[in-house]
Chain length 395, copies 2
């Protein structure tokens, strides 16, 4: 056997999703790319903002000596300082470069954090629906995943969390705005969460980290201000990237930020830097570190995503789909009209509309629509959604 | 405790090296950067070749839609095909895109390979002196490190390897040209190694991988042709990067290549792609994948490194140092005049010359010089090496 048992198991578990993607690909071959409406991937069709292209051109056309060499594993001090400055503005508390570690995207950041903090058998709590890779990332570093439910608005249920936290709970991992639900956790919720975690730390005499995956922090709608974790809990660590806010998912550029008042902050950050190195990331890509240094306040035009959300939300509601209106990110997570969400997603495939069953996010009975696609694809999908609705007498 | 026991142990083990770096940094502060001769890091001072800058400018000034988006986790098919084409030319056997997975550098590649193949407790054999990160990478994925010795020329001893391979041996990891010794493994050696591994596979009924870390493959001297592993063993996997051959270590661009006739090749490559994803690398940085596609036959001027090697080798020999002349890479690994290599490296520090003790590579009694530095630094170091030699009556 060439592949380890654990990796094979993980590949088999994911194989039904892969099979669906393959079926989608074969639909595209049969009917032509333009006649299949692929809403299954979180790969933004939007181009990076003009400021990104200007900055990249400036750097490349006037390159500095040594700009592609190794730097410290934490990243360039100038980039870390620029991130800290922008975070300070947004969060209302003061960060410095020493609170920031540049990483290969949010996925790299999360692996670095988990590797750093987890002893074999430590528990990490996540909430369904969840980004499916969390399961793999926690398992990579010997952690035990504990999945807890959310309410009808996809907000974690704190009473259940309270009973679930134990002496082996090392971290609670949240993701707001959420993939796949689009839910945004409010100030009130975060305040209660912080109080609960403080109480549990005191009860067990442990350090419990709140890891906030903020990959979609800048993609929020209706003029909302992003509710920050920082004021509510000191043992907070955020992981994020410029994959969505600058539309650079292929470039693998992100960062870890830790609360300046976190206990053992120095050791923790040293651990992150060490793990960034020993996990083989070594450092975040150099050129992109240079580029994002001056783009910390730049974001793609979020209004375009909001328009797509509104378009889709209006149509689906009119057809009778049960949708919780997303407040951020670029996903929608309607209830499946069939109890069997996989069967319903196959039904949509019949109409050449590709989505992902909620089962893939630990939440059967729902399905995920990714609307970070061009308008033609989004508009093209409406007929398929309507056909499916008609078939199940929703209209 | 904020950091896991395992990570803390790994940090403490490396802390003496870090302390030395800090001492070096404080020397630089005291005497000025230009009066300290830092030969401790493998961070090439050489700039990327002109062809790299041309290609990068071309791409950035005429950017294509979607060029910073996610692509398949294996990388762009066009880049994989370009790598396969160049490898086919060099190796004399036919590779295709499906044998290649693009990665975040050789360090990313090696972590992906080890994650894919290792069950808990599987053994990986390495040879001292070794690149110190191998220990961390193997440990990351539950493997057991078995360190074997090399001979006076730093070539692995095959008789010892023969007795060391057992039923739990999953891989033998070699690195030629070698960091830190500069040794280049010849065709004869590789042929014998291949025969031995075939014999052991048959004996145990297992699959034993030969993982060849070829990060320095293009940096070889005296007109040598690189001795390839491919003709000698079918269960071969190489990991490499463009960090040294294109002088891009900060950009994290490399790849895995697997022998087209390797048993279970399809499953293995699927495993690599899966692990590239679940380890959080996701994909090799997109822009660099575009850039290196057309630079597969380009290499920095190796003759410049050879001049540096000759200069240093001649001087050290004349002073009485015992040096095995490196045939590749940009390191030299002389015997330490003192039995205690750490003490000798501290002695050199007195003369403001920074090197790394052999103990850091699992081989006490030696020290590593990195000569990928500018000529001024290299020339400046000679006085220090001479002072130390005089002190120990070597001249």
């Amino acid at each position: 056997m060439s592949v380890s048992d654990r990796v094979r198991k993980s590949m088999v578990q994911g194989s039904w999703i892969r099979k669906m993607f393959e079926e989608g690909a074969s639909l595209k071959q049969r009917y032509g790319e333009e006649n299949v409406f692929d809403l299954s991937l979180g790969n933004p069709v939007m181009e990076p903002p003009a400021a990104f292209h200007r900055e990249l051109k400036r750097l490349v056309n006037h390159h500095l000596p040594g700009m592609h060499r190794y730097m410290a594993n934490a990243g360039y001090t100038e980039t870390r300082a620029a991130v800290a400055e922008q975070l300070s503005l947004e969060a209302g508390i003061k960060f410095t470069a020493s609170d920031i570690v540049m990483t290969c995207g949010a996925a790299g950041a999360l692996n670095v954090v988990l590797k750093t903090i987890l002893n074999q058998g430590d528990e990490v709590i996540i909430f369904a629906p969840y980004f499916v890779e969390y399961i793999n990332y926690i398992d990579n570093h010997g952690g035990i995943v504990k999945v807890l439910p959310t309410d009808e608005q996809f907000i974690p249920k704190l009473d259940i969390l309270e009973t679930a936290i134990g002496s082996r709970t090392k971290a609670v991992l949240i993701n707001s705005p959420n993939n796949p639900s689009g839910a945004l956790y409010g100030e009130g919720f975060l305040h209660q969460l912080g109080e609960l975690l403080n109480k549990k730390e005191a009860q067990y005499g442990t350090q419990i980290f709140l890891i906030s995956d903020e990959a979609y922090r800048k993609i929020i709608y209706d003029g909302c201000k992003y509710p920050q974790v920082w004021p509510h809990y000191q043992q907070s660590i955020i992981v994020t990237s410029h994959s969505k806010d600058l539309a650079l998912p292929g470039e693998r550029i992100g960062y870890i930020a830790v609360h300046p008042n976190c206990s053992h902050r120095g050791e923790l950050v040293d651990g992150f830097i060490h793990c960034n190195r020993i996990l083989g990331y070594v450092n975040a890509p150099a050129l992109m570190q240079h580029v994002v240094r001056h783009l910390q306040s730049v974001t793609i035009p979020v209004a375009e995503y909001q328009k797509k959300r509104d378009f889709l939300n209006d149509h689906l509601n009119k057809m009778g789909y049960s949708v919780t209106k997303p407040l951020g990110a670029f996903y929608m997570f309607p209830k499946s009209p069939l109890e069997d969400d996989v069967a319903f997603v196959r039904e949509l495939q019949q109409w050449r509309v590709l989505t992902v069953p909620g089962t893939g996010f630990g939440t059967p009975g729902y399905f995920r629509i990714s609307y970070c696609v061009d308008d033609r694809t989004l508009e093209g999908s409406i007929a398929g959604f309507r056909k499916a609705a008609q078939k199940f007498n929703m209209c």
